[in-house]
Amino acid sequence: MRALVVFAHPVPESFGAALRDTVVETLAASGHEVRLVDLNAIGFDPVMDAEERRRYHDPGVNELPVADQIAHIKWCEMLVFVYPTWWFGLPAILKGWFDRVWVPHVTFLMPTESQGIRPNMQNIRRIAVVTTCGATWWLSKWVGEPGRRTLLRGIRPLCHPLCRTTYMAHYKMDSSTPESRARYLAKVRQKIARL
């Protein structure tokens, strides 16, 4: 499959970067064609400005500021997100990637009086999430996992109707150990290899 890995973390030597490398290597070893978008490395600007917001609903025009990113998401059959969960959600740089890149007429068709919003990203058949959480599993569940839901319930319905999802998280990162991190890397390798 054509796999797009979207990565967000500001620290190149972080555990997040190790997760990114594991994901990319494992996908490539499984025979997938891989593209990596490293949002911090490319200096992606997550802030949708006034001009973009005004033209948000204009077909074609709304694609221009982020044409390279739109080409990536139209190209891929699999999306893999690797990011740290901050405040139970996506880092701003990744949230803004959705705000600016997943525009109407490209990723979905606007609702009408008689019809709701309709998906337009049927090329995507697989979504995987690899994240780290400071919070515990219980607390994350109680809060309702806003980050997970934004991706797997907000974005997934725009994709192929049979699009399958995979979610992995290392909880309690602030008290993680070299062993727990190694276990998580191994789990990520195993699950990504099966995609």
Partner: protein, 193 residues
């Protein structure tokens, strides 16, 4: 009360801008001291940098790039958020405000790897929010922005402080009448804040 208003919408002529103007005006008229923080107008950068991530847990150092915002948060007695919901979440500029400003030593402290909320100067929290999609759709997704306010932020501020969530859903199919009614509702809530 000293009320910090956090506003996140780029377009001056938007319905969100009208909500923002109503919130600030009604609060002031009711006698509150409003600190109006328009994140777009102030050019807030929402991206936590490498240096900030590396010093995230170093109290005293971690806030140096956002000190004025930290002072505004700590100087407030109440918080009002005014923002649209984009992709079932906060606009990046507002999400990044929490990433960069709600730091250890500001809104919480770490004890043995556990988060202890400490933003107890905030004694009231209200969110004024607009959704493109319908209510049932937001519910199906789990309504992440509502949970951020009602569960995550509520836990940071003074225990048992009142939290109010005012939302206009289905903006894509809104009418002059629904928008006027929502403005009226928001204005009334601010008048008795």
């Amino acid at each position: 009360m000293r009320v910090l208003v956090l506003f996140a919408h780029p377009v001056e002529t938007s319905f969100q801008a009208a909500l923002h103007a109503t919130v600030v005006e009604r609060l002031r008229r009711a006698g509150h001291a409003v600190d109006d923080c328009d994140l777009y107008a102030e050019g807030f950068n929402p991206v936590l940098s490498r240096e900030e991530r590396l010093h995230y847990h170093d109290l005293g150092v971690n806030r140096r790039n956002v000190e004025p915002y930290v002072e505004r948060v700590l100087g407030a007695e109440a918080l009002v958020l005014v923002h649209p919901v984009w992709n079932f979440g906060l606009p990046a500029i507002l999400k990044g405000f929490f990433d960069r400003v709600f730091l250890p030593g500001v809104s919480f402290r770490m004890e043995n790897g556990k988060v202890k909320p400490s933003l107890h100067n905030i004694t009231k929290l209200t969110a004024v929010v607009t959704y493109g999609g319908a209510r049932w759709r937001a519910l199906g997704v789990g309504d992440p922005p509502r949970k951020i306010v009602k569960r995550v932020l509520r836990a940071q501020i003074k225990p048992l402080a009142p939290v109010d969530y005012l939302a206009h859903y289905d903006m894509n199919r809104s009418t002059d009448a629904t928008r006027a009614a929502f403005l009226e509702k928001v204005g009334a809530a601010m008048a008795r804040f």
